[in-house]
């Protein structure tokens, strides 16, 4: 997991960190720290105070190392051993900003009597001692809130003791060590739930998942430091992960695949009955994946569907399969088509008004993950393997969506964003024109000029589907084309009820030597504006311009690419005649220039003419 934290660091530091992480060697940990010190950009300063009942001094390099990986520039302050309350009950140093205070304690120091119950008045006297510890926990929180009210407090739970005699007997009584720990931990969980700014550092959970390998009895006896080298390193990363939400916002959206991810099989080939999704193995793995995803959605992570499928097939899977947990509507944006997934993800990000670094990507296909990794490095790739069990494990283990709290906005987020991305709502297909009218579209035709040139060049370089010639002109080439006397360069800006969608269509045309003839060089529409009629609006404006320039004839061409089948017959529809063609290209001529109407559902706001 820490490997994902350090992705933005230079190679030298990454290699040193991974070497330290793989060996847990103190010398390598120190070396990585030295290299991190040489960085100009060290990450945010992170002031953390550690108060502990066990000796953390030997562990400090590991903690420093793990927190540096966040990345951050940690400033660790270690309170004197066993002086937890004394340290908390000090007036805050006014010039010092503390980002977190962490209390780490164990039953060995907090309540050692329960390790030797019969020597300490078992059971009544011992039950009284447990009550005292519960009061101590409460008092600690009160003191902290009195002396450092704005500082997040992390209180550790007590791990089960690694070394305990008579474990069997100890489990039989409420005054035994295990019951005592459970009661104290329960109070700690209660306090964190009840009060803002108080959080749990669940050391008990960490120790349980580590097992015996994290403990070292010699070091415990020698230095009151109970962890092996691997345990110290592991604890460092556990602490870093627990504090990370203070520094790094969680990812907001998960973009995911359909076939072989949400269910086993491919819906276009296997039909509904053939999909693997059930309460029996292996369909139960996909069922569990869906339950985890629904939980994420309910915690405020936006789900985005990216699937290469026919939309009708995909939707039928959701509507018809009896075991389906997720619903079609659980995805705030659905991109089910044959576009590149990274293009669809960019479009989804734009629709949701989220940065690309808010996204996580989940897909069983190695190819899709690799393409996403290369195309949009900001997107976090969740899984490293397409195996359904590995996908499930990745969902369990990721810290990308971790947060310490849950807000009302989190619970509402899916709903709020569904409204925002509402242009994708269903049910309008039977009345397409009515639906298009409901979008309240308004376009502005702009001359291509300095202010919009950047966007035009971006569109030329990116647009694949609605692109008649797929000419990837550079900025300089566009400028050169438009410098010609009589050249026409138009950009169409779209506004609808959801807001300004920016420039979504571009047309470039240049004069040819033949008298009065204009040649269309490029004509393209962004994939997020397909099917709305903006191409007809732009064509209408283009004909108007052509007449203004006293052209009377237009030439155009369709060059087939791997992606632009969509517009193979576009010029036929506009009334051109085919002049010449081979397998990859068709040349068209329009012999007379007449006016063409704007689509009735699109309003035209104004026309700008360049000087």
């Amino acid at each position: 997991m820490y490997r994902q934290w350090i992705r933005a660091l230079p190679d030298e530091q990454q290699v040193a960190i991974i070497e330290a992480g793989e060996t847990a060697a103190l010398s390598k940990v120190r070396r990585a720290l030295r290299l991190l010190q040489t960085l100009e950009q060290k990450g945010p300063r992170f002031e953390v105070e550690l108060l502990s009942s066990q000796n953390l001094e030997p562990v400090l390099p590991y903690l420093q190392f793990a927190l540096s990986c966040l990345p951050s520039e940690p400033q660790l302050q270690l309170a004197p051993l066993d002086d937890i309350e004394g340290y908390v009950a000090r007036p805050a140093e006014s010039d010092r900003l503390l980002h977190a205070r962490v209390v780490i304690w164990r039953v060995e120091e907090v309540l050692p009597e329960v390790l030797f119950p019969l020597s300490h008045g078992f059971p009544d006297q011992l039950l009284g001692r447990i009550e005292q510890v519960l009061e101590r926990v409460e008092r600690l929180v009160s003191l902290h809130r009195k002396f450092a009210p704005g500082v997040p407090l992390f209180i550790s739970t007590l791990p089960l003791p690694s070394h305990l005699a008579n474990r069997l007997f100890s489990s039989q009584h409420e005054a035994g060590a295990l019951a005592a720990i459970a009661r104290i931990n329960s109070r700690i969980y209660n306090l964190a739930g009840a009060r803002g700014g108080v959080h749990v550092l669940d050391v008990a959970d960490w120790a349980a998942t580590q097992g015996a390998a994290h403990a070292d009895v010699l070091l415990e006896m020698m230095a009151r430091q109970p962890w092996s080298a691997t345990g110290q390193l592991s604890f460092g990363f556990f602490l870093a992960r627990s504090l990370r939400p203070l520094l790094v916002p969680r990812r907001k959206a998960l973009a995911l695949d359909l076939d072989n991810t949400l269910w086993g099989g491919v819906i276009a080939e296997d039909d509904i009955e053939g999909l693997v999704l059930s309460h029996d193995f292996p369909g139960n793995v996909h069922l569990r994946i869906q339950r985890e995803l629904l939980e994420l959605r309910n915690r405020g992570i936006l789900l985005v569907l990216l699937s290469k499928n026919n939309e009708a097939d995909a939707k039928q899977g959701f509507d018809s399969h009896p075991e389906m947990i997720l619903k079609w509507e659980d995805f705030v944006v659905r991109k089910v088509d044959w576009n590149h997934k990274h293009e669809n993800l960019r479009d989804a990000a734009a629709e949701l008004k989220l940065g690309l670094d808010s996204f996580v990507f989940l897909d069983d296909s190695d190819y899709e993950r690799e393409q996403m990794r290369q195309a949009i490095p900001e997107v976090l790739i969740l899984n490293e393997s397409g195996d359904p069990l590995q996908i499930l494990r990745a969902l369990w283990e990721t810290d990308a969506f971790e947060s310490l709290t849950l807000t009302e906005e989190d619970r509402q987020r899916h709903h709020d964003y569904s409204v925002r991305a509402g242009r994708n709502v269903e049910g309008h297909n039977d009345d397409l024109e009515g639906f298009l009218r409901s979008l309240e579209m308004e376009v502005t035709i702009e001359q291509i000029e300095h202010s919009n040139l950047e966007r035009v060049v971006t569109m030329l370089s990116k647009t694949n589907q609605f692109n008649l010639t797929t000419r990837r002109h550079s900025r300089a080439e566009v400028q050169r084309l438009l410098e010609q006397q009589g050249a026409i360069g138009l950009a169409l800006r779209l506004r609808d009820k959801f807001g300004d969608q920016g420039i979504v269509a571009v047309l470039l045309a240049v004069p040819v030597p033949e008298e009065g003839t204009l040649s269309v060089d490029s004509f393209l529409v962004s994939c997020r504006a397909l099917g709305r009629g903006v191409e007809d609006a732009l064509w209408s404006a283009m004909l108007e311009e052509a007449r203004r320039h006293t052209y009377h004839r237009v030439e155009a061409a369709y060059f087939a690419s791997a992606k632009n089948q969509l517009v193979a017959n576009f010029y036929d529809r506009l009334g051109f005649r085919r002049d010449a063609q081979n397998t990859n290209a068709v040349r068209y001529v329009l012999d007379r220039i007449e006016t063409a109407a704007f689509p009735p559902w699109i309003a035209r706001s104004s026309v700008h003419h360049a000087e």
Binding site: Y2, G21, E22, T23, A24, A25, L26, S27, R30, E57, P58, P61, D216, L218, L219, M222, A223, Q225, S228, A229, T230, Q232, L233, S234, F237
Partner: protein
């Protein structure tokens, strides 16, 4: 690592010049070798050589020679390749 892996480990651990002679590695000659370093060194040696030290041995690990003697007695003078942990 050169042939003497214990020497390399100690040079690394105390950040000593690479050509340090093993006889110069003792608790008396290295200022940084305090009780905290002792705890960390034992952690490091246990991890690298996959050994557990007995209590009476701990008192004797005060120099390169003494550590070497202890490891030799256990037949653990070469490091054990550890599986990647995280």
């Amino acid at each position: 690592m050169p042939n003497d892996s214990l020497l390399s480990v100690l040079i690394d651990f105390f950040d000593l010049p690479p050509n340090t002679q093993s006889t110069n590695i003792t608790q008396l000659t290295i200022a940084a070798w305090d009780s905290l370093a002792m705890v960390q060194l034992i952690t490091e040696l246990q991890r690298i050589f996959s050994v557990e030290f007995d209590l009476d041995e701990i008192q004797t690990l005060r120099s390169y020679d003494e550590i070497r003697h202890s490891l030799e007695k256990k037949g653990k003078l070469s490091p054990t390749p550890a599986a990647p942990m995280l």
